[in-house]
């Protein structure tokens, strides 16, 4: 696996919100993994939908893109695809580096 950082430029006005926001997204990752184990597709779809909406708003376009893909895969109950996407999301969160400018 690559340990390359993903640099995301965020509006400095949002600086105070970002730690809490990323903390919540890590909680989402844990919930996604549990939902995947339980094949809880409604939950997977709902979290994917939420990531899609919230990620882009804060400036994390990559997060929105993965969220949309999770939502779509959950709708189609594509387990294999969901597994890959959740793994990809985990890597994204680990690699993301916020720069305020």
């Amino acid at each position: 696996m690559s340990d390359e950082k993903i640099v995301v430029k965020i509006d400095p006005d949002l600086e105070t919100l970002i730690p809490g926001f990323l903390n919540n997204r890590n909680k989402d990752l844990a919930t996604l993994r549990t939902a995947l184990e339980e094949k809880n597709f409604p939950s997977l779809q709902s979290i994917g939908h939420s990531l899609k909406g919230v990620g882009g708003g804060y400036g994390f376009a990559g997060m929105s893109e993965i969220g949309a893909a999770i939502e779509k895969a959950a709708k189609g109950q594509a387990l294999g695809e969901l597994k890959d996407l959740i793994e990809r999301y985990g890597k994204y969160l680990a690699a993301v580096e916020v720069v305020y400018e």
């Binding site: 006005d13 949002l14 919100l17 809490g20 926001f21 919540n24 939908h49 939420s50 899609k52 909406g53 919230v54 990620g55 882009g56 708003g57 804060y58 929105s64 939502e71």
Partner: protein, 455 residues
């Protein structure tokens, strides 16, 4: 940071706390006061307690949905701007939201500038205010009653909210409907008007929804209905109260599904049409009597506008008279005439059951018949006597004709029913039935003859 916008309070509704935090930040940076809640139910409670200038709501939430919230809000306050924000917006959702009066329908993730732009537009802040002054510029008035009505119409014009206009015959319902269309974002598309009371049921269905070739006898070609003709624009359903019940069901379905199926077709077509409807009837009573569907009534009556009678805006009569006289002078290529003071006084105090339409007809007649520059009182009085109280329905006109006809033949035969029936080409039984329907007593005519003989 932008210049603060004083005391404009925005209620944000979303079940995602991170979205609320983000919007709170963005809006406060623009100088707005912000209240955030995580459900539609909480939003309704806040709306009861606090003065709110605009609502931003998520579409899909636990419990009451954003669409239901929008409908609830506009049931209480149709002028409160609501911006819908959704992660999975579909075109039918967006169309339904705009019909329910949402000021904008945005998809998540919404760009900050986009959202702020829509908020300012909905609140008519800054450059968006200038367009308001143009509303209804061709409507002639100075009365408070019209001023208040036009202010309300102006406020709703810019959204797609469904408007319901009530008012007596000749008060100018279509003029207001057109002004609303002209001031809306749909102004470049068609304004299509239909009088639902003037067309037989089957023809009305075909006119509204269209028909396929061969759908019924005489349908030699395919016909695109008025819903499709008005796609992207406004459909004005005049005299909606006269629409037959069977068609009301079909209209309701179109308004719910936003799709039309032409008569004889298996295909449906999506339509994006703003509906403005109007009636001279008391539809509350019609609903109570089971003559008009309650569900359709409430779908149409989102923003009610009540047209004042001409007698409730008498101060507008001189302005309207001057306007019409200028128009006729231009048409006839003659100098503009004016009214003698007594004639104007008469116009100002007349009962005007036919409202502006009747005023227009009277002035047209006066202008045509008057050979001098000043229209005298006697001519106005004559024109008023010649004018019925507005346009009658065909049924009323037929009834009136039939009654006058019966009175005429009875006068001619001095109340001799057998002779009168013969003249009318009816047998006596039928003729008596007609007399009963009109409550005419032939004996009255015999008595008149006897009185005349004695005299």
């Amino acid at each position: 940071m932008n210049k603060p916008v004083e005391s404009i309070r925005i209620l944000v509704v979303d079940d995602d706390n991170d979205i609320l935090l983000l919007l709170d930040k963005w809006l406060k940076q623009e100088g707005f006061e912000v209240i955030t809640v995580t459900s539609a139910e909480e939003a309704l409670k806040k709306l009861m307690l606090a003065r709110i200038n605009l609502v931003i709501s998520d579409l899909i939430m636990q419990g009451m949905s954003g669409m239901q919230l929008l409908a609830e809000i506009h049931r209480e306050n149709p002028l409160l701007p609501v911006i819908m924000l959704s992660g999975q917006a579909t075109i039918p959702d967006a169309v339904q939201a705009t019909h329910l009066g949402s000021a904008a329908f945005l998809t998540k993730p919404a760009a900050r500038e986009d959202l702020i732009g829509h908020i300012k537009r909905a609140l008519r802040i800054g450059s968006y205010q200038t367009a308001k002054g143009q509303f209804g510029k061709n409507i002639i008035y100075k009365s408070k009653a019209m001023s208040e009505l036009l202010e309300l119409a102006k406020q709703v014009a810019d959204s797609d909210i469904t408007v319901f206009i009530t008012g007596a015959t000749g008060t100018g319902k279509e003029v207001i409907a057109r002004a609303i269309h002209d001031a809306s974002a749909r102004s470049q598309k068609s304004f299509v008007a239909i009088n639902c009371g003037a067309i037989p049921e089957q023809l009305l269905e075909s006119e509204l929804f269209g028909h396929e070739k061969g759908a019924f006898t005489g349908a030699n070609t395919r016909h695109e209905g008025l819903f499709q003709a008005a796609h992207g624009g406004t459909l004005f359903l005049d005299e909606i109260g006269d629409m037959p019940l069977s068609l009301q069901v079909k209209l309701l379905r179109v308004l719910q599904d936003l799709q039309v199926r032409p008569v004889g077709s298996t295909k449906t077509y999506p339509v994006d049409v703003r509906i403005i409807s109007a009636t001279h009837r008391d539809l509350d009573a019609a609903v109570e009597n089971g003559e008009f569907r309650e569900d359709l009534f409430y779908r149409l009556k989102v923003v009610p506008l009540a047209m004042p009678n001409l007698t409730e805006r008498r101060e507008d009569i001189p302005l309207l008279a001057a306007h019409f006289l200028r128009r006729y002078a231009g048409r006839n290529e003659k100098p503009v005439k004016h009214f003698a003071p007594a004639a104007m006084e008469y116009l100002m105090t007349a009962p005007w059951p036919g409202n502006i339409r009747q005023l227009n007809n009277v002035l047209d007649l006066c202008s045509t018949l008057c050979k001098t520059d000043t229209i005298p009182l006697s001519l106005v009085q004559k024109a008023m006597q010649d004018q019925p109280g507005g346009i009658q329905s065909l049924k009323d006109a037929k009834h009136r004709f039939e009654r006058n006809y019966l009175l005429g033949v009875l006068r001619m035969t001095s109340g001799h029913v057998a002779n009168a029936a013969r003249m009318a080409g009816r047998n006596r039984t039928e003729f008596y039935k007609l007399l009963n329907q009109h409550a005419i007593d032939p004996a009255e005519f015999r008595r008149v003859k006897a009185d005349e003989s004695e005299a």
